[in-house]
Point group: C2
Chain length 174, copies 2
């Protein structure tokens, strides 16, 4: 199994599906790239949702305040012109739906995974960094002329690594 391809395909499928069914909008094809874990400057709206189980990670969506308002307007059918609590909740729910769908896809190959509550950050010129040096699989869309990014990092949890090592040692000993 190529985990990177699995995650990429799953993000693309989930994003297209959620945009079409929940927001009534077709997403254009996304650009796939890989990011390392250096602290990134951000402007606008960034969400995070934790994945936990034998594999641990984080899913994230980044967009401009204008796109966040548009997501909210399409989702709640109420015009949103400034980033308020409803807009942040709409981006949180979008994150929940897209990363939740990716999680369901991944569970078929990786076993049960848990999903935490999304958190959304809004501001100008703030930096974000996840612990350690994980690689992020990044899919960037141009929606309404502005970038919208969906990304995910995933690694075997240390507890699972220890467990896998002990299995390996046992296998060597048999």
């Amino acid at each position: 199994m190529n985990l990177q391809k699995l995650i990429t395909d799953s993000i693309c499928g989930a994003a297209a599906n959620v945009f079409s069914t929940m927001l009534g909008n077709d997403l254009p094809e996304g650009q796939v790239s890989i990011e390392t874990g250096t602290p990134e400057p951000n402007d606008g709206v960034v969400s995070f949702i934790g994945i936990a189980g034998k594999w641990v990670g984080t899913g994230s969506i980044t967009c401009s305040p204008a796109l966040a308002c548009r997501v909210c307007s399409l989702m709640l059918m109420v015009e949103a012109s400034a980033v308020d609590a409803d807009v942040l909740d709409a981006v949180a729910e979008l994150t929940n739906m897209i990363i939740g769908s990716v999680k369901t896809d991944l569970e078929q190959h990786l076993g049960p995974l848990g999903l935490s509550i999304p958190t959304v950050v809004y501001g100008r010129n703030f930096r974000t960094k996840s612990a350690g040096q994980h690689e992020w699989i990044v899919v960037t869309y141009l929606w309404d002329g502005e970038p919208l990014t969906v990304k995910l990092c995933l690694a075997l949890s240390e507890r699972s690594t220890h467990f896998a090592s002990s299995i390996h040692v046992q296998a060597l000993e048999v």
Copy 2:
């Protein structure tokens, strides 16, 4: 079981223990309060780590850039004077240790829980909001004359709620 008291006691114990063993510093007694989920203005460094399982939630630590540098200096034994990748990783690791310890305490009462990878945000005047209207249990410490906050929100996951409802319905039907 009083979940709020359990979480409060666990945060206080975990924070005191991690500060004493990992940073060689005694924390003064913390102030406990409850926050609702309105978007909060933040300055400085804020970490998030997801909790997932039958219960879902988020743990978070907030402090000033100066305190974040001090955590890094004490943890890595190297002077840190500006918030760089090492400082963000040190705050991520502090979050991992304190919320990881709280998770272990909670598991004795709530069953197995997973912990995601922490994410740290650094900036000025940014807002953060977790999805929905969860209550946060907040413990604020005055360390080196500046506030350091450890907080946690936790709720039964919707999947578990549906499961619990179906058990309840079955119980009524029997």
